[in-house]
Amino acid sequence: MESDPNKIIGEVTQSDYKYGFVTDIETEYAPKGLNEDTVRFISKTKNEPAFMLEFRLKAYRHWLTMKLPTWAHLDIPPIDFQDIYFYAAPKKKKQYESLDQVDPELLATFEKLGISLEEQKKLAGVAVDAVIDSISVKTTFSETLAKYGIIFCSMSEAIQHHPELVKQYLGSVVPYTDNYYASLNSAVFSDGSFCYIPKGVRCPVELSTYFRINAANTGQFERTLIVADEGAYVSYMEGCTAPRRDENQLHAAVVEIVAMKDASVKYSTVQNWYPGDKNGTGGIYNFVTKRGICKGSNSKISWTQVETGSAITWKYPSCILLGDNSVGEFYSVAVTNHHQQADTGTKMMHLGKNTKSTIISKGISAGKSNNSYRGLVRITKNASNSRNYSQCDSLLLGSTCGAHTWPYIQVENKSSIVEHEATTSKISEDQLFYCQQRGMDAESAIGLIVNGYAKEVLKQLPMEFAVEAQKLLSISLEGSVG
């Protein structure tokens, strides 16, 4: 049966955002707008030590001197930073001993999202540090983790209980001067996750947090810091969903990873924030700075991301390969539909000798969206015998979308090898024909082909995520090509 591609694309664009609901929890706001008082208010509310206030104020003062970056291939409507609540916290912020004490509405929210704490705790064996509107509500499995000496808590707790670690590592990978949004985050970040794996410890479970932007008009500014000490290993998962809103919401997070000698960190993200409706109204603005440093020799940082949401995505998870023989990896699937815009990619800075990096990026654009890969591979003079392999492919579904590739390759020594390849094309007619000939409808055929196309990245995800990511891909692209 002939299927009109535009009709199918239309059907997809009309499908509702599955996670669009608002939880009715009382929220405490900082006054709207941003000035030094807001920064002081946040710091004071969170009862932070003096060094944190100083860090925030320095960042805020630096931010004032910066200009909004315009280099990305994004059409960003002007953001009024004075019209945003920079801090919102669920009002009932008691410390909970067990899940029973958690606000039942909150639990229901998680259930709708399919990540019931209870279920995860019991069945999946995953310690979840769930973040709703900036405040970490409940940390599970901390006792188990404590046995290994692993610290996994909210950033606020870490600032209270482990100030020496926070002081040592916060801003060491992404300094407060790094870029516009990182500076903003440094000044006003509300909460986030903190994770420290001590020497020689292999974290027995996959650590996970779920971010969720809830109150309307709230900028969400998380700050995540992961430190893997010598020989440690951790796999960290971050997943995001947000309810539907008509006004754009700003999200400017910073993630920092430090991997010491022989340490290995795997960071996986599934991002499914509200992308706006089919006319391009609403949706999250996602401006994220993620960076890891392989500080010691033989260390490894691996980023895996599946990006299906947000109206605007501006995100470049990067690796600084400082230690000799260190390894950086970046696996990404970015899907854009409707009027979504994504400018995403990675930076691999090879500083140490014999460093290796791999970049696999798969972009899928449909509707009227624009999907850009922007990556930098830099091999410095001292990084002899380094190796990079990059592959970034784009799949175009429909004649009104755009796919762009901006790879920057800089090589400054002779013993290194850098390879980059990229292709851009639409779904192969032959493959579609083959599948349909064997009795599959166009929709499942496309689902199959797209999943196959993204397989290289999806297989990098931890199992729990892989299942969700595959579902997300199918939801985002249900039959969107003919």
């Binding site: 175009l396 979308c401 755009g402 796919a403 590739t405 800089q410 020594n413 002779k414 980059h420 851009t424």
Partner: protein, 469 residues
């Protein structure tokens, strides 16, 4: 001589010079051109000379070039013995030679030739006087005066250059060769402008050489506009062999009508700082453009190839292959940009950039960029940077080939992928020979122009009567 004083080139100097010599510069103009000059100088004033803060100039720093002092010459020198300056001794290469000395068209007989088949070739300044209507249709129509500071400056200042017109349905019987020689006793800041027009269904082979004869620093800002009519076919060869003190900003704008076919070869053998802006726009469906580049750099040389292909119409094909070998302290830049516009369905575009670094101090910046706005396309790009294949080295050495010879053989084979695309046999043999020499470090700029080079059988006789220059 006007403005011949040696000085640092600045925006203020150039705008000042323009204001002072406005009338002299525009002496041969038709009215629309003068108006265009005025707009261009204003645009240049707004843009200024590019710095590394601009994305397009991020990896090419002109400060060293601008640190030298140059004389801006607004009038050609007279009485040049053309026969002595321009000679080509490539065996069996039969070309119609057009000479340019220091940016000015020079000829022994007539400044503008009209051949029996309707081909017009000669000085652009002469052509502007004689064929203002023909020139007016094309000149300044393809170059990006608005966005590119050097093109704007060139549009304002340029007075002469080469003009070639091939009428509809005419196939040029032999290749045309432009030899642009820079030879002067003082540092020169040059701006010349070339216009090449190919009528419908016409055909031309064009060999365009940029050479310098001595070690005097120079700064050339050359803009070439090339129009290919429907079904026209152009074989374009750009050979660059300048001294280490020279800076060359060469901007070539190709405008391709429906079903036009272009093959362009950039062979960069020497030069202090070379910047090739290659901009191709398909102005009709079924166009086909292939751009090949080979660059062999050493010492502190710098090469920057910027290729922009605008697929504005459906069914066009473009391919880019740029290969480089970078030795000593040299640096290379490749920025490819393929834009596929919304309606340009069934586009096929390919970009490839490969680099070999021979030393720890050589470096390369590569950015093959694809910008695509429709789904019915086949686009790909690749970029590799590395060293010679160790397995291949091992294989050769195992068979008794010395390390140096093995390395030379591999480098030569690497370059051959681009050289083998040269369609004019005598030219290809010569380039092969030159690349061999270049790789052995034998080819020095004092051997003069690419096409005057030395062979054992034919020792080069290179005498310039200095009293006449």
């Amino acid at each position: 001589m006007q403005g011949a004083l040696k000085q640092n080139i600045t925006k203020e100097l150039m705008t000042g010079l323009y204001a002072d010599h406005r009338a002299a510069i525009a002496a041969n103009d038709y009215p629309a051109l003068t108006a265009r000059r005025e707009n261009a100088i204003h645009r240049f004033e707004e843009l200024g000379f590019p710095t590394t803060k601009l994305e397009a100039w991020k990896n090419t720093d002109l400060r060293e070039s601008f640190a030298k002092e140059y004389a801006v010459v607004l009038k050609p020198k007279q009485d040049v013995d053309v026969q002595k300056v321009f000679r080509c001794n490539i065996p069996h290469l039969d070309t119609a030679i057009m000479g340019q000395l220091n940016g000015w068209y020079v000829s022994k007989d007539v400044p503008l030739m009209e051949l029996g088949n309707g081909i017009i070739m000669g000085s652009l300044a002469e052509a502007m006087k004689k064929y203002p209507a023909l020139i007016g249709v094309h000149l300044g129509r393809y170059a990006d005066t608005n966005g590119d500071a050097f093109t704007a400056l060139n549009t304002a200042f340029s007075q002469d250059g080469v003009f070639i017109y091939v009428p509809d349905n005419v196939k040029s019987p032999k290749p045309v060769q432009i030899i642009n020689v820079i030879h002067n006793d003082e540092n020169l800041f040059l701006q010349s402008r070339n216009l090449i027009v190919l009528g419908k269904n016409s055909r031309l082979s064009l060999v365009h050489c940029d050479d310098s004869y001595n070690h005097q620093p120079s700064f050339s800002n050359v803009v070439t506009e090339i129009h290919l009519g429907e079904h026209a076919s152009l074989d374009h060869y750009k050979l660059q062999s300048l001294n280490n003190e020279s800076t060359l900003i060469s901007s070539v704008y190709f405008r391709m009508e429906a079903s036009a076919k272009l093959e362009s070869h950039y062979i960069s053998l020497n030069g202090g700082l070379l910047r090739n802006n290659i901009r191709i726009r398909f102005n009709g469906p079924h166009g086909d453009a292939k751009i090949y580049g080979i660059y062999l750099m050493d010492r502190k040389q710098h090469i920057d190839n910027q290729v922009f292909v605008d697929h504005a119409y459906p069914d066009c094909t473009s391919g880019e292959l740029f290969k480089g070998i970078l030795d000593e302290h040299s640096s290379g830049v490749f920025n490819g940009h393929v834009l596929v516009e919304r309606n340009a369905v069934r586009t096929n575009a390919y970009q490839s950039n490969k680099n070999i670094l021979l030393t720890e101090t050589a470096k390369v910046n590569s950015k093959p960029f694809l910008e695509i706005y429709n789904d019915d396309v086949k686009c790909s790009h690749g970029s590799t940077t590395g060293q010679l294949d160790q397995d291949a080295m091992y294989y050769l050495r195992q068979r008794g080939i010395g390390e140096d010879s093995a390395r030379m053989l591999l480098m030569y084979a690497y370059a051959d992928e681009v050289i083998s695309k040269i369609a004019i046999d005598p030219l290809r043999y010569r380039i092969e020979d030159m690349v061999k020499k270049r790789l052995q470090g034998e080819l020095q700029i004092c051997e003069a122009c690419v096409l005057h080079c030395n062979t054992p059988e034919q020792p080069v006789e290179f005498v310039i009567d200095m009293t006449k220059i």
